[in-house]
């Protein structure tokens, strides 16, 4: 087995284990930390796929920003993290069955499909990505900043104390 496949299997095992911990541990702070571990594994997968810029962006945005945001949210709503509050809804077995059924449907479709794989190896995807973002995709790129601004303003308005 090639080195890349071994690395992939280790990363995949780490990602799936930490994702399972995110949806199953009782302590919500531990869930947030496992989420960071899962994001780190996904960043490794991006490196394997030769998407270096996305790997760095994953570390910066997901581990650096979103996980910290979740930790702040947990801190501000803190006494719901108690150990003896049930963390699952009453119908969780149905949810498990539905998720498993959906996975087997996806697995069936993935194994049955013919993927037209190109053997060409890309070089220097970061330069190509930067050029694509300011040439071909410049309008969505600018719209993205508007959406981010709207989200920031909306979050501030929603989280603000009323009556002040």
């Amino acid at each position: 087995m090639a080195t890349q496949q071994v690395v992939f299997l280790i990363l995949a095992g780490g990602i799936l284990l930490s994702a399972l911990m995110v949806v199953s541990v009782r302590n919500i702070v531990h869930a947030a930390l496992f989420l960071a571990l899962c994001f780190a594994g996904v960043s490794g997968v991006y490196v394997l796929l030769r998407a270096e810029f996305l790997a760095v962006a994953q570390v910066l945005i997901y581990i650096g920003a979103i996980t910290v945001l979740f930790l702040f949210g947990i801190m501000l709503t803190r006494h719901i993290t108690g150990q003896n509050i049930p963390q699952l809804v009453a119908h969780w077995k149905w949810a498990l069955a539905g998720a498993c059924a959906f996975f087997f449907l996806l697995l069936h479709l993935i194994l049955r499909s013919e993927w037209r794989v190109v053997e060409e190896v890309p070089r220097d995807s970061t330069t190509a990505l930067g050029l694509a973002l300011v040439e071909r995709y410049v309008l969505p790129f600018e719209l993205a900043s508007v959406i981010l601004l709207a989200a920031v303003v909306g979050a501030v308005v929603l989280a603000k104390q009323e009556g002040r």
Binding site: Q4, Q5, F8, I15, L16, A19, V22, V23, I28, C38, F39, V42, V45, Y46, L48, L49, R50, A51, L54, I61, Y62, I66, L69, F70, F72, G73, T77, I80, I85, Q87, L88, V89, H91, W92, A95, L96, G98, A99, C100, F102, F103, L106, I110, W115, V118, P122, S125, A128, L129, A132, Y137, A144, I147, L148, A151, V152, G154, V156, L158, A159
Partner: protein, 102 residues
Amino acid sequence: MVPLSWYLILAALLFCIGVYGVLARRNAIAILMSIELMLNAVNINLVAFARYTTPVMLTGQVFAIFVMMIAAAEAAVGLALVLSVYRNMRHIRVDDVRLLKW
């Protein structure tokens, strides 16, 4: 070289774990975390397709960047909503938030 279908199966598993988390968890913050897992699964798929089927165009990677950006916006607005619910009801158990359901 790692076959494309391995990446797709990894993403499918991660997505289904996220689906289970959204449906089964009771805490609103845990549900937001599961949504992030699902978005990550989608991103793995997009980047894998960009690598294996269109390595020159990189459309998948550009799309993955936009998904990341929407995920950041969604996390910020979602957590603000959770804080707002918590301030009004003193808990964030989603099966007990049913003001609109008579």
